[in-house]
C-alpha cells in the first residue's frame, strides 16, 4: 500500500521561502519630496494652461466641456475679431478629461504638467485668465499636442528599475 502524503506543510514552507527571498530585492519605494518620478509626456495634470495670443474666443472648448466649467465672455474687437474679456475655468469641478484640449482648433489650451495644485479654499480653484497663463511654474504637457510632447523628457517606468538591492535606507 502506497502512502500518499500531501498538505503536510509544504505549501506553507514554499510561501515562507518566497517572502524570505523578497528581503533581498530592491524596495520599490520612492521617497517622495526628495525623489520624484517623471510623469508621462502626455500627462493630464491638474492644471490648464491658456495661451492668450492664440485664443480667439470661439468657445469650442466651453461647448465640449461636459460639465460647463469654462466661462468665456468676449466683446467685439477692432480688427473683425473677438477680444476675450473673461476666460474662467473652475478647476475644482473639472474632471481633467481633456476634451476641451482636444477640441481647441487653434492649440490655445493645454493640459499642465504639475500635480501639486492643492489649495486651502475652494474659491481659489476658480482660475481667471491671468492665472491660467503660461509661466515658469506652469508648463504645458503633451496631451493631444505632439509638438510639445516631442520636447519633454521620457517617463520613469517601474519596469526599468533595477532588481538588485543596494542603498538600504
Amino acid at each position: 500500500m502506497k502512502l500518499e502524503f500531501e498538505r503536510y506543510g509544504k505549501g506553507l514552507a514554499k510561501g515562507m521561502t518566497l517572502t524570505f527571498r523578497h528581503v533581498f530585492r530592491r524596495p520599490i519605494t520612492t521617497q517622495y519630496p526628495e525623489q520624484r518620478l517623471i510623469p508621462s509626456r502626455r500627462f493630464r495634470g491638474y492644471e490648464l494652461i491658456w495661451y492668450k495670443n492664440r485664443c480667439t474666443g470661439c468657445g469650442t472648448c466651453a461647448k465640449s466641456c461636459l460639465q460647463g466649467n469654462i466661462e468665456i465672455v468676449t466683446s467685439k474687437g477692432t480688427e473683425n475679431n473677438y477680444v476675450v474679456e473673461k476666460f474662467e475655468v473652475d478647476t475644482g469641478r473639472c474632471i481633467f478629461c481633456g476634451l476641451c484640449v482636444e477640441a481647441c482648433p487653434y492649440e490655445a489650451l493645454f493640459m499642465g504638467k504639475a500635480y501639486e495644485r492643492a489649495s486651502y479654499r475652494r474659491g481659489q480653484l476658480v482660475l481667471s485668465k491671468e492665472q491660467l497663463e503660461l509661466s515658469a511654474e506652469r508648463q504645458p504637457s503633451g496631451y493631444a499636442r505632439p509638438k510639445v510632447e516631442a520636447l519633454l523628457p521620457k517617463q520613469t517606468l517601474l519596469l526599468e528599475r533595477p532588481r538588485r538591492r543596494w542603498g538600504w535606507h
Binding site: F5, R7, G9, L12, T19, I28, H169
Partner: protein, 359 residues
C-alpha cells in the same frame, strides 16, 4: 541572590525599575522592528521619517495615542470597560518578573516553581479580553469576546504539554535550572515540542495566522473596537508585551536564555539576540499567511496540537527514564516529529463547515 547591597528593598526597587524599563523600551523596540520588518518582505521600506531611520516612530505613536480623546460608549459598562484594559496588561508584567536575564538575576531570582507560575499567570489575559469585549456594548466586540474564551483556553493545553517535555528533561521547574540544565538547547532535543510551543504561543498572543480575535477584515477591530486614547494604548502595550514575554519564555526554555560564547557578563546581550530571533520568526509567519477560521482553529488545537503534544511527552518521558536523555535522542526526536507531522496531515480537512439552515 539579592543583587545590590543584599537588601530586600533595594533589590526590588532597582529591579522593578529595570523590568518596567525593559518592558516599555522592549515594546517600543518590538513595534519598531515589526513595522520596519514588514518592509523588506513586502518590497518597501518601513516608516523612516520620524527621526533618523524612523527610530522615533514608536515615540510618535505613543504621543499620538496619549493625546486622543477617551471615548466610552454610552451604554457600556464603565467600570468593566476601564478595568479590562488594566487586567489585560497584568499578566505580561507578572511574567516578565521571573525571567532570568542573567545567571541568577531577575526581579524574583530563581523562583523554584518558575515555569508553573508563568503558565498560571498567562491565563489571566483571557479574562481581560473577555471583559473588554463584553463591556463595549458592540456586537463586533461580543463576537470577538466569545471567540476569545474558546480559543485562548483551548490553546493553553498544548502550550503546557510542550513545556512539560522540557521540564522532564531538565528535571526542575525553575527557569534558571532549565537554562543551565542540559548543554544542548532544547529546541534540538524536543523539536516537536518547540513547534507546538511556537504555534500555541502565537495563538495565545492573538497574532499571526491566528489573529481572528482582532481580524480587521471581519470584526473591525475585535475586542478593542470601542477603545481609544490611553486605554487603547494599554491594549497595544499588552499585545506587544505579551509577544515580548512569550519570546522571552521561548528563548529561555528552548534556546538556553543568556548562555552564549564570550564572557559571562554579556549574557544579557545573548538573551536579547535570541528574543529578537524568535520575534523575527513570528513576524515572518505573520507576513506570509492568511488567517484561520474559528472552527478550524479549534480543530487545529484539539485534533492536531493536543495529540502531538501528548505523544511528544510520552516519547520524551520514555527517553528520560530509559537513557537519561543523551545527545543522540536529537535524531530520534527529529525522525519522530517528521513522521508524526506526515501522519497527522492525513486528517487535514478542507473547507466545509456548512450548517444546514431552515430558511
Amino acid at each position: 541572590m539579592l543583587w545590590p547591597l543584599d537588601n530586600y528593598w533595594a533589590h526590588f526597587g532597582v529591579f522593578t525599575v529595570i523590568v518596567l524599563g525593559f518592558f516599555l523600551i522592549g515594546v517600543m523596540a518590538f513595534t519598531y522592528v515589526e513595522r520596519r520588518g514588514f518592509g523588506p518582505f513586502q518590497l518597501r521600506l518601513g516608516p523612516n521619517r520620524a527621526g533618523p531611520f524612523g527610530v522615533l516612530q514608536p515615540v510618535a505613536d505613543a504621543i499620538k495615542v496619549l493625546l486622543k480623546e477617551d471615548i466610552v460608549p454610552a451604554r457600556a459598562d464603565k467600570w468593566v470597560h476601564w478595568l479590562a484594559s488594566v487586567i489585560v496588561l497584568l499578566p505580561v508584567l507578572l511574567i516578565l518578573a521571573v525571567i532570568p536575564f542573567h545567571k541568577g538575576h531577575g526581579l524574583i531570582p530563581d523562583l523554584n516553581i518558575g515555569i508553573l507560575y508563568v503558565v498560571a499567570v498567562s491565563a489571566l489575559g483571557v479574562m481581560g479580553i473577555f471583559m473588554a469585549g463584553w463591556a463595549s456594548n458592540n456586537k463586533y466586540s461580543l463576537i470577538a469576546a466569545m471567540r476569545v474564551v474558546a480559543t485562548m483556553v483551548s490553546y493553553e493545553i498544548p502550550l503546557v504539554l510542550s513545556i512539560i517535555g522540557v521540564v522532564l528533561i531538565s528535571g526542575s521547574l525553575s527557569l534558571n535550572d532549565i537554562v543551565e540544565g542540559h548543554t544542548i538547547p532544547f529546541f534540538l532535543l524536543t523539536p516537536l515540542g518547540f513547534l507546538v510551543f511556537l504555534l500555541s504561543a502565537m495563538a495565545e498572543i492573538n497574532r499571526g495566522p491566528f489573529d481572528l480575535l482582532e481580524a480587521d477584515s471581519e470584526l473591525v477591530a475585535g475586542f478593542h473596537t470601542e477603545y481609544s486614547g490611553m486605554k487603547f494604548a494599554l491594549f497595544y502595550l499588552a499585545e506587544y508585551g505579551h509577544a515580548l514575554a512569550m519570546s522571552a519564555i521561548a528563548a529561555t526554555l528552548f534556546f538556553r536564555g543568556w548562555v552564549g560564547p564570550g564572557s559571562e557578563y554579556i549574557g544579557v546581550l545573548w538573551f536579547l539576540v535570541k528574543m529578537l530571533f524568535i520575534f523575527i520568526l513570528l513576524i515572518w509567519m505573520r507576513v506570509t499567511f492568511p488567517r484561520l477560521r474559528i472552527d478550524q482553529l479549534m480543530g487545529f488545537a484539539w485534533k492536531c496540537l493536543f495529540p502531538l503534544a501528548l505523544i511528544n511527552l510520552l516519547i520524551v518521558g520514555v527517553e528520560v527514564v530509559a537513557w537519561e536523555a543523551p545527545w543522540w535522542i536529537i535524531f530520534v526526536n527529529f525522525a519522530v516529529a517528521g513522521g508524526l507531522i506526515l501522519l497527522w496531515s492525513r486528517f487535514f480537512k478542507l473547507g466545509g463547515g456548512r450548517v444546514e439552515v431552515r430558511v
